[in-house]
Symmetry: C2
Subunit: 319 residues, 2 copies
Amino acid sequence: MNIDMIRAARHRTGHRVRHTPLLSSPFLDDLVGKRVLVKAECLQVTGSFKYRGATSAISALDPKARARGVVAFSSGNHAQGIALAARQYETPATIVMPSDAPAVKISNTRNYDADVVLYDRGSEDRDAIGKALSDEKGLTLIKPFDEPQVIAGQGTCGLEIAADTPDISEAAVLVCCGGGGFLSGVALALEAEKPGFTCHPVEPEGFDDVTRSLVSGKIERNEKQTGNICDAIISPQPGEITFPIMHRLCGRGLLVSETEALGAMKAAFDHLRVVAEPGGAVALAAAMRYAADLPQDTIIATISGGNVDADLFKRALEM
Amino acid sequence: MNIDMIRAARHRTGHRVRHTPLLSSPFLDDLVGKRVLVKAECLQVTGSFKYRGATSAISALDPKARARGVVAFSSGNHAQGIALAARQYETPATIVMPSDAPAVKISNTRNYDADVVLYDRGSEDRDAIGKALSDEKGLTLIKPFDEPQVIAGQGTCGLEIAADTPDISEAAVLVCCGGGGFLSGVALALEAEKPGFTCHPVEPEGFDDVTRSLVSGKIERNEKQTGNICDAIISPQPGEITFPIMHRLCGRGLLVSETEALGAMKAAFDHLRVVAEPGGAVALAAAMRYAADLPQDTIIATISGGNVDADLFKRALEM
């Protein structure tokens, strides 16, 4: 992984991927007590940075592989990113989803013309299903985060952050973090273009695999993988490719509660007029909680959307 | 009013005013049955296009007038636009607001450091209060729509729409319309830069002064001015300056119900992940209702936010 791969991904995908705005509000600055810039990936195509990685990975395939098709395992944003990018590159896409995934996520993925294969989490082996599909039809598996071209595509978000902060030389960059694909791509881009910026992973409390891994210096696992409204960013452990990058480039991990994630969704509604999902709001929540502890005067936080459940959003509006 | 004033306004304000994105979603296109591009003025500074006009008008004042200060009557988005722009240009701002305006709008206006003067709608004369302030302190009154530099500033939104649609030569441009300042500015900009685009005012049913004025060819008034959730865009009648521009350049007016406005807020939440207020959602609602009746293949709709009441937003989420 290197900066040239990220620049090449931007070259391949720049006509499709939206350059999302860095939003701000004087009221949010007052609330946080520092200058806050919010990288609004909820305004990205399909609502999340996952589309960047999906478009990068599919556009990097050779024509034969692209014609055979791709397969992905996902119950959420990666599924929709792959499904839409595949349709745009005229690539057949098969998405393997758990049969108990939210109905709206299954139907949206189908609406992007992907072939959705449902499996039972209790009795069936996801990897075996994927391998069978891959062997049978010659499909290319596109992993959600531990995949170089996915990391490169997601890193284009870091190039945009650098381009849109010409007057800022020091900032803490808080990034919503699951397996670390987005964070490691952004950190690589900023290492090259903004050496005074420091990236931090942000995770939900109780699902702090990356935070603990950065402390111990080796890959640590989450004990559980369900039971939190920030499910969109929960993964078993950091990736084999992403962890060394994060370990080399990132500051300490920051943890937030479910209530804080809902509070950040409400702040984004009130002051920025954008819609975030809980997992996509943890970095803004961390800005609100940890700003005083960070040495930089400017905090940059990513935010993303995907499919936001209306009932959950109502809970955020009560905050 | 002419295009040169709009270009000059952009030159004066371009470093402060946000170039807002034109958002889209394949699901929204499917819902409407045509290609839909949404000009997201809810992402503008202060949440609405009113900031464009306010910044333009204050930056156009001579230094002495700027030092004396400005006064505006508004219970909503114009108040906040003027208050923030005045602070940025170090101009004292007095905002005359009805004492029954929503508390959040009063407190936000004060938080932008404006001097808020409250009056009783039943017993006091707003214009007399404004005139006394203006005479006593030499303040410049900035009207919300029938004011050339406000129209010029709001027209910069039209320049951005033109710049961001290089491949489109024909489109119906649906614009949320109160007194017509925003619409007439956008229509003037597009007359110069996109002669194949046709602008239409969109109003709430029962508050159709502009729609009727375009039919009769003279300024018509609304019978009532309250009693609709789209209050942000309800004004007594089109302006003396704005009406002739709209009459010369715009297609017929389009009307939507309160329920349709709430439905458009939900569609913006689901598919674009932005927050609109009811009055700022009427153009998207009209796109959803009237797309099949319009001859163009592309519909462009403005959307804006301001301060969105959480309880009202919950109603939209039920749609």
